[in-house]
Subunit: 288 residues, 2 copies
Amino acid sequence: MSTSPVLLLVDESGSRRVDPHEPHLSVTDWGVTRGDGIFESISVIAGRMPTLDARFDRLEASARALDLPLPNRSIWTDALRKAIDAHEPVDRLAVTVVMTRGVEGADDSPTAWLLARPARDFTGIRRSGVSVVTLDRGYASDAAEGSPWLLLGAKHLSYATNAAALREASRRDADDVIFTSTDGLALEGPTSSLVVRRGDLIESPAVEAGILAGTTQATAFGFFESRGYRTRFSAIAAAELVECDAIWLVSSVRQAVAVHTLDGHPMPVDDAMTADLNRWLGDEARLE
Amino acid sequence: MSTSPVLLLVDESGSRRVDPHEPHLSVTDWGVTRGDGIFESISVIAGRMPTLDARFDRLEASARALDLPLPNRSIWTDALRKAIDAHEPVDRLAVTVVMTRGVEGADDSPTAWLLARPARDFTGIRRSGVSVVTLDRGYASDAAEGSPWLLLGAKHLSYATNAAALREASRRDADDVIFTSTDGLALEGPTSSLVVRRGDLIESPAVEAGILAGTTQATAFGFFESRGYRTRFSAIAAAELVECDAIWLVSSVRQAVAVHTLDGHPMPVDDAMTADLNRWLGDEARLE
């Protein structure tokens, strides 16, 4: 059992545990010199191995978008099992898996690792919600269609603009961001998917608009369907967000947070429903 | 004297030389997990210390765009001097300086390094030129203006889309890319600036269109002015590129390469002028 993060380096033959406090990356890794790689974040609750199909599907889609080798599911599953076993028992582990294009001038092997750490405690923000600003992401909602090199919808390491958007939010005294397209659609957060409620209809933006297919978003739809809501993917006008009955940003580790303020306007929040949704998301992760 | 790359880790107190074959970066460095950092490439010809003002100005602009600490010019200059002295004499060193946001959860110190290596030999491509495809960068030419979080014009580490565009070019049997804006302007290459000739007029796109201010581009303008050409920054319609009398992509290490084919159309090339331009760019680097 380890009280520190568990880090495994992964290659085509398997995974091996290394000291997380030591450096393991070359300064000529394409992951750092070009942000050229892909990642996934996985929640492990109470030490139970989650179902990884949806994660692997998305990691594969990202690998395809970046012309990277497809991940070997059995090696990665084995690595996650090893990390869970090696880490001291905690309520929730935040696991990151990363694959970069490897080291400049070396062979074509990716650099890959799995890092398991106790998740930050998001219980406070799940209860309090967040204030959000909408920021233009600069792309039209049809940009992804003809321009695969824009890598829209891939979960890759070139996230400097996401980080910059979150700093802009902070400058505007907000906690988070909802990106919008140049043609006025609401898209997603820098690290979360968007779910809105209008009456008995629950909606999320369609991935065709160039956003990430949200794995937690899919689980959230399951929750609402179990409660009798209709769910659908649709084009959500950014200008209509303020008229929604509820807005959530959902992601695997932070789970669901209600948007209580949008561009300075107070938004309706339903604390009981947010709590139920988070219980469902936690249970799902536990059951997976 | 070293026959291998010279790597210096840089912090606020100075720089120290380390083994370039050892890993030096943590897997939780924001440089790799988010592509969150900035860089510059510097050519060092015949071991002569270049003038660094324009480089530092751009590095500072990038640091400001990403809310990173401004680089300490005297420490970086000293590091470059040390690297030049430590490297075995070569015709041309390609030097990369990088500053990331540092390590997740640590203090706010950036991770920074300088890496000096012999430059690749680009003499062949400077003579032969390149075939280029135009690819839509997905942004309108006024996107930079109101949306600083898009980091357009900053030289940052989130270059996965640039790498993807170059792979797309390769799939189309081309060597390089000229990005275009959604409103039809020619912008820049993934790692180079665009210079075109129309009669006695030499033009480059204006940085207001959300492109990087090219340091080599500025030197190229100087060359053409010395030859009696007028130079100007302007909006260059992508559709008009094919009617230009010459197109070059210019960058610090590869220098100037003529575009001999644009989206499959043969373009006029002037081998003598390209050679003269490259001599000037090389001399400038030597004289700086």
